[in-house]
């Protein structure tokens, strides 16, 4: 497609379960970011990919969070043993030469 696609758009999960969030970036974009936006908060950087490697994963809040990218395209963000504080909107951005294009996000609710 022409834009950044994220799935699912909404996810409700029980505390302690694992979740996987998916991002399909714009074709040809080599760089990809994941951010988290909690209610009423700004954007918290999680991880950045250049191709399939992650030169900057300093924003991952704990070892329960991991991400991978395969084929220089699709990326998945996995949260293990989810906690209520993980509830947020998770945004993916696909980066062109200079600017980032954002998906609509996945709204994660941990109950």
């Amino acid at each position: 497609g022409a834009g950044v696609s994220q799935s699912p758009s909404n996810k409700v999960t029980e505390k302690g379960k694992d979740v996987e969030l998916r991002c399909d970036p714009i074709s040809g974009h080599t760089a990809l970011y994941w951010y988290r936006q909690s209610l009423g908060q700004g954007l918290e950087f999680l991880i950045y990919f250049q191709g399939n490697s992650a030169p900057d994963k300093s924003g991952l809040p704990s070892d329960r969070f991991s991400a991978e990218r395969t084929g220089g395209s699709v990326s998945t963000l996995t949260i293990q043993r989810t906690q209520q504080e993980d509830s947020a909107v998770y945004l993916c951005a696909s980066v062109g030469r200079t600017e980032a294009f954002f998906g609509q996000g996945t709204r994660l609710t941990v109950v």
């Binding site: 945004l91 200079t98 600017e99």
Partner: protein
């Protein structure tokens, strides 16, 4: 490392009034600067960007911003706002380099509320 400060968390204005949303950044190297807008329950949309050249950049929806290197600022302005401009606005900075590989750092956001 670069950082961004948005000086106002909330800006209420009346319709048709002018508005300025302030953004200051810090970086030891040259940067690209961006303003994004987020309407309620939507993703982020690029308003405008400064890459190089003219320090006054124009974006969508009648917004403009001016890059001031000496003051390390990139304030967003609109001469006359509409109700539909009510949204969260984010200033962002990225280190200027040949590849797309560097972190995009955001400010905390400014909630613009336009009242009738």
């Amino acid at each position: 490392a670069q950082s961004v400060t948005q000086l106002d968390s909330q800006v209420p204005v009346f319709e048709e009034a002018p508005v300025e949303l302030r953004c200051n950044y810090s970086s030891s190297v040259s940067v690209y600067l961006f303003w994004y807008v987020q309407y309620p329950n939507q993703g982020l949309q690029l308003l405008l960007k400064y890459l190089s050249g003219s320090t006054l950049v124009k974006g969508i929806n009648g917004f403009e911003a001016e890059f001031n290197k000496s003051q390390t600022s990139f304030h967003l302005r609109k001469p006359s706002v509409h109700i539909s401009d009510t949204a969260e606005y984010f200033c962002a900075v990225r280190i200027r380099q040949e590849t797309s590989g560097s972190r995009l750092t955001f400010g905390e956001g400014t909630q613009l509320t336009v009242n009738p």
